[in-house]
């Protein structure tokens, strides 16, 4: 029973902590991100299974975490509000050729991050960008000048 409570608590705490860590631009895990993932993951394992390292206990913990994930996925699919809470919303960084500075400051994104993503999309100049959008997974997608309809 303790394992179930610990696993549910751990899942919710981890979800909250990861959620309040701002989205990192780039959409790919850096070494910096790996530090957080492995460290938090390692800590939460100890608290979840406790001193009982039996296969039964570990299997219970895995099943609870899987079930929690399934419940959250179900909630996301059915409620746009819940989806926003868990995943956030896409955010416009360049709107009609204008930087959205307030959004960028809040998301800790600077011009260089946007330009780096633009180059990876084959965009050589920021003046070619009409819209830049920070997606839920941290990638930045672009709409070129003249592309929007």
């Amino acid at each position: 029973m303790d394992t179930l409570i610990h696993a549910v608590t751990g899942y919710c705490l981890l979800l909250l902590t990861v959620r309040v860590l701002s989205r990192r631009p780039g959409g790919q895990l850096t070494l910096f991100d790996f530090v957080i993932i492995f460290l938090i993951g390692g800590i939460i394992i100890g608290a979840t299974v406790g001193p009982d390292h039996s296969v039964t206990n570990c299997a219970s913990a895995i099943l609870v975490v899987g079930l929690m994930h399934r419940i959250v996925a179900w909630g996301r699919a059915r409620s746009p509000r819940f989806n926003h809470i868990v995943d956030g919303t896409p955010l416009v960084l360049i709107k009609d050729g204008n930087w959205q500075r307030a959004v960028m400051r809040r998301m800790h994104i600077d011009d260089a991050d946007v330009m780096s993503a633009a180059r990876s999309h084959g965009i050589a100049s920021i003046f070619d960008v009409k819209y830049a959008i920070l997606e839920l997974n941290g990638t930045i997608s672009f709409v070129r000048q003249g592309d929007a309809s």
């Binding site: 303790d2 610990h6 909250l16 309040v20 701002s22 406790g50 001193p51 926003h84 809470i85 956030g88 919303t89 896409p90 955010l91 416009v92 709107k95 009609d96 959004v103 809040r106 819209y131 959008i133 709409v143 929007a148 309809s149």
Partner: protein, 182 residues
């Protein structure tokens, strides 16, 4: 057949994602996002307060958690943690004064809750004898002269609020409560 029909139902494609400038379907919800940023700030403040409270010992293992009990006649002087963590070892330290020692024997009464709720694992030094009764255990130790001390290693098994009592025959019993956090 009915099941297949329900699976293959279709719906016409329509604009369900909110557009920016009536041009790009993004689904941005800045109103929600501004609320979320406020929530994020409040959450980090809360996390910082939790860490400060943790460092101070509000969840055990810190200055706020350490406590002492003393009997008026100097028979017992007890150091313990008023806030313990479940499945985490700690020490209950008991100093016995001269009224506790008679004819080379020190006697100490420990309530059963020290064993059951607070998870006493061992007592140092090894007692000469242990007698059960009066809702607890009465230990006898070989002793010469004060100061003499006894330590009980604790490891509470589950969270909760638990009381315990310590005493020496012929003297006041000391009582205290320990909060065990998960």
């Amino acid at each position: 057949m009915m099941r297949l029909a329900s699976v293959s139902r279709t719906a016409a494609v329509e604009e369900s994602i909110e557009k920016v400038n009536e041009e790009v379907a993004v689904g941005e919800d800045l109103g929600f996002q501004r609320g979320w940023w406020r929530f994020e700030r409040a959450t980090w403040v809360f996390f910082c307060l939790l860490l400060v409270a943790d460092l101070a010992g509000a969840f055990g293992r810190g200055p706020l958690a350490n406590a002492t009990l003393k009997s008026g006649d100097g028979t017992l002087d007890v150091s313990y943690e008023r806030i313990e963590r479940s499945d985490t070892p700690s020490m209950l330290k008991i100093k016995l004064g001269s009224p506790a020692l008679h004819a080379g024997i020190a006697t100490l009464y420990v309530s059963q809750s020290v064993v059951d709720a607070l998870g006493a694992e061992r007592i140092i030094p090894q007692p000469l004898s242990t007698t059960i009764g009066h809702g607890g255990l009465t230990y006898q130790f070989a002793a010469t002269a004060p100061p003499a001390s006894v330590e009980i290693a604790l490891r509470p098994g589950s969270p909760g609020l638990f009381g315990f009592a310590l005493g020496v025959p012929g003297s006041d019993t000391l009582r205290a409560r320990v909060a065990v956090v998960p």
